[in-house]
Symmetry: C2
């Protein structure tokens, strides 16, 4: 049934029907949370091995990891992530428990001290940033905090719309960079094509100090098959823009959120510059936690194997969401979405103007979803249509209920809108 083709009478009937269903759910007094990309307890249990007694505190470098020292991370930890992600270990700096923190600090560094060889951004006047959206709310919060004007770039099935990215970046020297979640993007699960990566590396930018924040948060979070991601460093080097990318990654969604290990990677020139700041900022990050990861998942192969177990936890939830959406909305004209093959999220687009209403209806009936608009800069979705679904946290039975309610809410919001339009 295509709702867009219904008359007022049919819509009224459907609305009344949906309202009855909604009332039934509301009466159930649900209290479910689909708001954030948090792993479920059952998923965390798979990493409980990392809580066990740490059997060695000695690094292969000979350093006593209990003591001070080694600003850029244990050499074996850098080698490990290098192998896992196809990065040169010499480009890697190991951080603390949060890659978001590394991104914030890098942005603070750029504002205060500039990219290597350039005037600090904080003294360059007006600043703008390209924000492929829907995207990650905490990325946008960083550029907002530092005063960037954020320019929305639409997403396509192969990444940000590169025609728009190129045309904006080449003419405006105030545009200093772009946020990218290149694999299983948050929230749509989009993977950047090789061509997108090539163009990001090759494109001309009016700002000579244009930077890519490459947040490969879901770099090993495959669920269905394994999507390939092209090498951003190679692409930038080939384009004559070697220093353009800052690469970020963490194990927050591999072992424990908030107790994992984060890294960043960049060219040697940029790395030397970043370490110059870091050497003032700290004596070093937690090396025992690095050894804890190495003890629990000794090789990158062990980590990849562990990711398969995690995928086993998440796949049924993704399947459930896929099934519910397809059963409820295929052919209705009310909702569009892509089926992600990895990562942590689904994203749907309602009819224009229906996202806030949908999320509010769900909240009133006890299901908390990510705030509508949160996937856009300044939490403002210009078309009020994008909703992020974070299916990992609730157990399958709860997710099932939550999705049923979501379906009713999204339909009701859509029908309300269509009715209002017809009556005008």
């Amino acid at each position: 049934m295509n709702y867009l083709e219904l008359g007022i009478g049919e819509l009224e009937a459907e609305k009344s029907n949906l309202e009855k269903l909604y009332a039934k759910y509301k009466a159930m007094g649900l209290k479910l949370d689909m708001s954030r990309g948090k792993p479920a307890s059952s998923q965390l249990d798979l990493s409980n091995g990392s809580l066990e007694t740490l059997r060695t505190t000695r690094s292969v470098s000979g350093t006593d990891a209990r003591n001070y020292g080694i600003l850029d991370g244990l050499p074996e930890m850098r080698a490990y992530f290098g192998e896992l992600l196809g990065l040169d270990p010499e480009t890697i700096v190991v951080g603390g428990n949060s890659s978001l923190n590394l991104m914030f600090d890098m942005m603070a560094q750029l504002m205060l001290f500039g990219p290597a060889g350039y005037e600090p951004w904080g003294r360059q006047g007006r600043l703008k940033w390209l924000c492929p959206a829907p995207g990650y709310d905490r990325h946008f919060a960083i550029t907002e905090k530092f005063g960037f004007e954020m320019i929305i770039v639409p997403m396509t099935p192969t990444g940000p719309d590169m025609n728009i990215v190129e045309s904006l970046a080449k003419d405006d020297p105030e545009i200093k960079g772009i946020w990218c979640v290149p694999l299983y993007s948050n929230p749509q699960g989009i993977c950047y094509s090789d061509e997108t990566v090539r163009r990001l590396g090759a494109m001309k930018t009016a700002a000579p100090d244009f930077r890519i924040f490459w947040d490969n948060a879901y770099g090993v979070h495959h669920i269905v098959g394994e999507k390939h991601l092209a090498d951003i460093f190679a692409a930038c080097k080939a384009g004559g823009n070697a220093n353009r990318p800052y690469y970020f990654f963490s194990t927050s969604k591999i072992t424990f959120p908030g107790a994992g290990v984060s890294i960043m990677a960049m060219t040697p020139e940029e790395r030397t510059w970043a370490l110059k700041r870091m050497t003032i900022q700290t004596i070093g990050h937690d090396k025992l936690n690095q050894l804890r990861l190495l003890q629990f998942l000794p090789t990158p192969a062990d980590l990849r194997n562990h990711m398969k177990k995690l995928a086993g936890e998440i796949a049924p939830k993704f399947d459930l969401v896929r099934k519910k959406l397809s059963e409820a909305f295929e052919g209705t004209g009310l909702l569009s979405w892509q089926v992600p093959e990895g990562g942590y999220f689904y994203a749907v687009d309602t009819l224009d103007g229906c996202a806030k209403r949908t999320v509010a209806l769900a909240a009133d009936a006890g299901v908390k979803m990510t705030g509508a608009g949160a996937t856009f800069p300044l939490k403002h979705d210009p078309r009020d249509r994008n909703i992020r679904i974070a299916p990992t946290y609730p157990p399958v039975a709860e997710l099932d209920q939550a999705m049923d309610l979501f379906v009713i809410c999204a339909k009701l919001a859509g029908v309300e809108k269509l009715l209002a339009e017809k009556k005008n």
Copy 2:
């Protein structure tokens, strides 16, 4: 024998004697490190219990500490440090493994976003900072990095010379704050008197947004008895300057350097302001590491008891330094020092112009000491006389050798200087 009273002949004889002794040590091919305030392995072993399997991952708040959440630290962790340090838990924010990182980030925040209610310091023009010296090199490195003009304030046995602090701060609005290590200061082991704390809280400052960075790094590091420290928050409140202090502390030198737990504390107004930045910077610090501390040393009383064991490790080293200095230099006129009752360091003053030479002589004979000058802003000791002795890292037998060599080097440098003066 007072070297200052010797004639040229006696000095020549003494010099030749010292040179022979020095050559003997040099031939031994020593390789000892007294350069940094690192705990010895035997000291770290006392905290190996904290490496054991973490038996609970649940906070008293009900939160699963493995997952995201709780930006300001587990409530039981804040209560713990509140009790340990006499702070209101509501003023505390728990950080990651490094209080230095908290200080750097706080300074970055002040530069970029200002203290609560004030213009960002980065937009206020010229900035100056009071640096009681000798002091901690990494403090000075932070204010250097952020472009402050650093003003040296001499230390007295009761803390920074408050007459100078007050007179500078009251007239110059460009002076934005002061570094303080109030208990067992690095490197002299000086403890701020109640009167010093009172005056720091009460003094008038030309800058309305004057701030005290109160790094209580050695707040529980008693070795001989227990020195008292007055409450800086009470002092500032009484003086009508409640928002003046930022308080820092960590367990880096209680359990493991680089794998401990850090905190900062400030008034609720400042705390809300700091959390506003932190909520953009990270989703939260490592809560499992907080539980690890709570498992290993469940109560503040356990921690204090643990500090007694650590003091048992350090006391013989402090004793040795005290004895060596007193035997070698009492009455010589070549060296002056105070005997610290806690903390991590000794500091000595040579004759003017002899510190660099002493440290260089020691280095040439295989004993690495903290660089001369490092205890002053810009690593420049105007009188080239202060040397920090960090006795904790080497085992007692090595420290014994290192101190014997140090004595020879300091004497030789002194004699060389006296001879040069006499011959001029």
